[in-house]
């Protein structure tokens, strides 16, 4: 199935954001990072395991009537480094970019170190410095513990 056919599956959206080229299986984690849960008012379409010319299978998330900001959407690069963001206006793609990992990840991941101060009820967000983007290596600003694998396991 190509992109053309796929559009038949989901009605084209007038305005909003399409997050494309998400690794298959990560769409729900993308929503989690974006803070999109059952309380959301927006119309969301989720496509999982669609075939893609570029990468075998992929997931796609479409968020209607909301143009996601670059800094919020960049956080998904932790689990979907090749994702592309398409801003849709009047059914047309008017802007497109690949997510870029920020230098600092705030409030997205829980520190794996059980004796880290960030795992207590202090009034702070977890903070990780990105030491390397490829491969992904993060370091807790508080205890300096590194995260390099299974990043999705640490999503808050």
């Amino acid at each position: 199935m190509n992109d053309g056919e796929m559009k038949l599956r989901v009605t084209p959206i007038g305005n909003g954001t399409v997050i494309d080229h998400i690794p298959a299986g990560q769409a729900l984690n993308v929503l989690k990072i974006l803070g999109i849960d059952r309380t959301t008012q927006a119309t969301i379409s989720l496509l999982m395991n669609v075939s893609s010319r570029r990468s075998g299978r992929k997931d796609i998330v479409k968020v209607e009537d909301r143009e996601l900001k670059e800094e919020e959407v960049n956080k998904i690069s932790l689990i979907a480094p090749g994702a592309t963001i398409n801003i849709i206006r009047d059914r047309r793609v008017v802007d497109k970019y690949t997510v870029d990992m920020p230098d600092l990840i705030v409030g997205v991941l829980r520190c794996p170190n059980p004796s880290c101060i960030s795992n207590t009820n202090e009034p702070i967000n977890s903070r990780f410095i990105v030491k390397s983007k490829n491969p992904v290596i993060l370091r807790c600003v508080y205890c300096e513990q590194a995260i390099a694998e299974n990043i999705a396991d640490y999503l808050i």
Binding site: S115, C116, I117, T120, P123, I124, A146
Partner: protein
């Protein structure tokens, strides 16, 4: 050369910054020995110890008093009572408003970093769980510079290299000076790979051995740490290991003339008392050097701010 507001981790120190601390400590050492000065008169240092530590606390207190300042302190009992009632962040905001700087020891890793984010005044980390204890590392470096040398140094780090945080940050700092480092530990207490990888990233390759005899004749410094009984499930195994790393007068027969022996103290029986009288023993002076080094940091953080 020293623009820091807080002292949290050795990772944040460049070689130039370390040198500037050691230089100032050197010039303050005569005041540390007696008499003191009034560089920080009218200033208050708050000591927040959420975990017991007599040595470090007294050393900071002495340093502040030798500079003519005053201290107020929160002991472990008050500290833990406070910890139940309010967040560390709030405690820091409250006490930070009373004092000109805060010294904190806390069982949670990263607690000093958190304190620095909420404190209106400089924070000095005096140990955060298994995390950092930068003033210990700085006094170790001062001792090495003073009693041996930091250039072209050959040093053996001996004992518990797995859990001992002091050796991790010391190794890291020594890497900045290009030291030749040998790690001597029982197999079960070897330095973690991530620390070795970190050192390798700084261009320092370490050697490793299980036998102290292998290096005794070759090094300038023996840095001994305690091997804790609790790390061994089998008490017999502990006895065997502890014995093979014990330093006695006879183990020093093949040592270099100018070898110095260091230990962060308290020792249990890693070093026999007979060694205390030899020219190699510097561990009591090492502990004293904590005073001028902490004086230097306090003066830099509280006294000389260009704001």
């Amino acid at each position: 050369m020293f623009a820091k507001r807080h002292v949290i981790s050795m990772r944040e120190f460049s070689r130039e910054e370390i040198d500037s601390v050691l230089d100032l400590a050197e010039s303050l050492e005569p005041y540390a020995r007696g008499g003191g000065c009034d560089a920080l008169s009218g200033k208050i240092l708050a000591l927040l110890f959420f975990e017991p530590s007599t040595r470090t606390r007294l050393s900071f207190e002495t340093a502040m008093m030798r500079l003519g300042g005053k201290t107020l302190s929160l002991g472990p009992t008050e500290g833990s009572a406070m910890a139940k009632g309010e967040s560390l962040a709030d405690t820091i905001r409250v006490i930070g408003a009373y004092a000109d700087a805060l010294v904190i020891r806390h069982p949670k890793e990263g607690s000093a970093r958190l304190a620095s984010q909420f404190s209106p005044v400089p924070v000095l980390n005096a140990g955060d769980g298994a995390g950092h204890h930068p003033t210990q590392t700085l006094l170790d470096l001062y001792t090495i510079r003073k009693e041996s040398r930091l250039e072209d140094l050959r040093i053996a780090l001996v004992g518990d290299l797995k859990y001992g945080r002091t050796v991790h940050s010391l190794a890291y700092a020594l890497a900045l000076y290009g030291a030749d480092i040998t790690l001597v530990s029982p197999q079960t207490l070897e330095m973690p790979d991530r620390i070795k990888a970190d050192l390798a990233g700084k261009g320092t390759m370490v050697r490793e051995t299980h036998a102290l005899e292998d290096v005794l004749g070759e090094v300038d410094v023996l840095y001994i740490t305690r091997i804790q009984k609790e790390r061994f499930p089998d008490p017999y195994e502990y006895q065997k290991v502890a014995k093979s790393y014990r330093i006695g007068a006879e183990s020093l027969a093949g040592a270099r003339d100018r070898l110095i022996i260091m230990h962060p103290l308290p020792r249990v029986d890693e070093i026999a008392p007979e060694v205390d009288e030899t020219r190699h023993a510097v561990y009591f002076r090492q502990s004293f050097y904590g005073v001028p080094v902490r004086m230097a940091l306090l003066k830099m953080l509280i006294g000389d701010r260009l704001e």
